[in-house]
Symmetry: C2
Subunit: 386 residues, 2 copies
């Protein structure tokens, strides 16, 4: 029992709580609001609501609306310049992981010199990042309760998760009502991303007592409620449960860590940016967890069985029960026919992707409960590409 | 599902980690170190270790060593004056709840004018409190992971728990090795205090999903390991489990809240300052939880049974299983013969104590799952006084 606990974010959770943006203490008088280049935040009225609530407490705002679904370093730099020019004090990420992760990286570059990628590659920050407010409109990334941000360097095909304590949001408002408009397939992809945050964090060598609690509870909620949220996006109870499961899975990422499944997926979606992160994870998952089990059953058997029980399986007496439950969940959220070849991936890519997964995010392999080599990664990715 | 989550404290947990005080980022160059008037922190060498680790990073310190087991407002004011005179930047509480709670209240008075009791009674703070570092040497209060501080006003016989977000420690170092010297009876009292933080937080109307996780996990660890820590104080595994259970019970107090059992106990130990808080809680507990069950079984039955299961009871099919498990735990930690009359309490006190519990800490009654009146409180306290 040797671990640190640090989640300084204030999390406001509940239906209809977006309006509390008008009364919560905010870290400045002018915000940069970051949204993606799609039209949804405007069309759904969320952007105007946010601007209006800020005005109620006399906080000005400027909007940066160019973020891509896989956000890029160029946009981080461009938005940070805008924020500096406009004298913004803090950044609000409104949307899914792309918007909020961009807000985090922008916050770092508002106060520090050079290029963003230098910090990803190890340059020490000189100044505290600007404060961040996260308003998620999807249930998946957990970025509202963790210090991580995932940005792609399009020049080098590197999609890297980067985290420092400064990138915990100052405030996160998690309002499940903002999530009802997410279409079924994205609901499934995003929800499965949260599921794997918890599964990987439960298996990581750095798991600690409290990350275990968060992980098993999230796994249980997702298994039960993600199929319902996919079936009926207006089911607010299911949205609410998924919102909390996802935020709690972010807390797993803050107290434990993802493992190499995430390294592999980042390689896939770095090369194939249209592949949704959650879809990549689902495709990798059964080959990945099966491979791990075959390679060293002793190292994972107990925890696989714990997770199978959390997923509602009864009479669990083999670690294979987890693989079975995982397949059942994938089917229940309508993703049993998902094929990576639909996004253009080919088996010949496996070698390149395995190499990239080690080069860009090799650190997570060191947290795996079972040692996986580059050859293992190639075999898993090859198996996943159908 | 409508709740806030906010625990900004950085918690460093593990055996031998006190030495990291020499390398952790600290909130200033000069500390006021607060300890109780007993000799233990000096005799055990902890005070010198703390001073030495601070010196390693060139942080100066001044010691305030007058805190009483039930800390008083006078000492809070006196220590805050000393800290101001000595230009201290932050406060370190080293010891049990008395030292750390005093450190918190002193931190508030280092930066705010007037008397401490005015703030307890509702005066708004003008300035942020000075930062607080908590180094617990007992497992019980959970003050290292919550915003609460309990101080007694000896003029008015009020012992009140007061909490504001500023009073979360900046840093808490929880090192189970510092706890091995606590004698068996205090280990039992303190551990039972942590137990009731979790039990009450699990029953409170403001319980939320994550406080439920913390509570049941702590209840389970305490039931298993407190008897071992009482039996053999040098059992480091038991100390470690109790240290985490107590810190996690503090997280219950941060995300849910104690209920009226704590109001009643504060009345008892306000009038009888030699009565250890944990001893008062143990004495109240069986009458209190039995009374609540009899008054409105429907409101508590499910949660009593959850707790009985967390305590290792099998075939739980009645809420009485919790009362039975509680009695068993009290016996297993050697407190089955505890009598409030040993500290001078008499049945005739019950009325006065019930009144005081409402006057000083009536707010917690509003969080009870079953409505308890002043007459109910009198009956419970009367029953508890043997």
């Amino acid at each position: 029992m040797h671990f640190d606990y640090y989640i300084p974010t204030k999390i406001i959770f509940g239906r209809g709580r977006l309006k509390e943006l008008a009364s919560q203490e905010l870290p400045g008088d002018k915000a940069l609001i970051v949204i993606t280049n799609g039209n949804s935040m405007k069309r759904l009225g969320y952007l105007n609501q946010v601007i209006g609530y800020l005005q109620e407490q006399r906080v000005e705002s400027v909007v940066f609306d160019k973020v891509l679904p896989n956000p890029t370093e160029e946009h981080v730099m461009e938005a940070a310049e805008l924020a500096k020019k406009e004298n913004c004090d803090f950044v609000i990420g409104l949307g899914g992981g792309s918007a909020i992760d961009s807000a985090k990286s922008i916050a770092l570059m508002m106060t520090n010199g050079g290029r963003y990628w230098e910090y990803v590659k190890g340059r020490g920050q000189e100044m505290p990042a600007a404060p961040i407010v996260a308003i998620p409109t999807t249930a998946g990334t957990g970025t509202e309760s963790d210090p991580w941000t995932v940005i792609t360097n399009t020049e080098t095909n590197e999609k890297i998760g980067f985290g420092i304590p400064d990138l915990f949001p100052f405030l996160s408002i998690v309002d499940p009502e903002l999530m009802v408009s997410v279409p079924a397939n994205l609901t499934a992809y995003q929800g499965m991303d949260a599921f794997f945050h918890s599964v990987e964090g439960y298996l990581a060598k750095v798991a600690q007592p409290v990350s275990d609690l968060y992980a098993l509870d999230s796994i249980s909620r997702i298994t039960k409620f993600l199929p319902e949220a996919v079936k009926d996006g207006n089911n607010l109870q299911a949205r609410e449960q998924m919102a909390w499961a996802s935020t709690q899975a972010g807390m797993v990422e803050s107290t434990s860590c993802c493992i190499s499944e995430h390294s592999m997926e980042h390689a896939l979606s770095a090369y194939y940016p249209k592949l949704p992160h959650g879809a990549g994870l689902v495709a990798l998952s059964v080959p990945y967890f099966t491979y791990m089990l075959k390679k060293d059953e002793k190292k994972v058997a107990v925890r696989y069985m714990d997770m199978a029980r959390a997923m509602g399986e009864t009479d669990v007496n083999s670690p294979l029960a987890f693989i079975q439950a995982l397949k059942k969940l994938i089917k229940n959220v309508g993703l049993e026919n998902l094929k990576l070849s639909d996004w253009g991936l080919q088996k010949e890519d496996a070698e390149k992707l395995a190499v990239n997964s080690f080069e860009a995010m090799g650190g997570l392999y060191e947290l795996d409960p079972v040692v996986l080599t580059q050859e293992d990664a190639r075999a898993i990715i090859c198996d996943a590409i159908q």
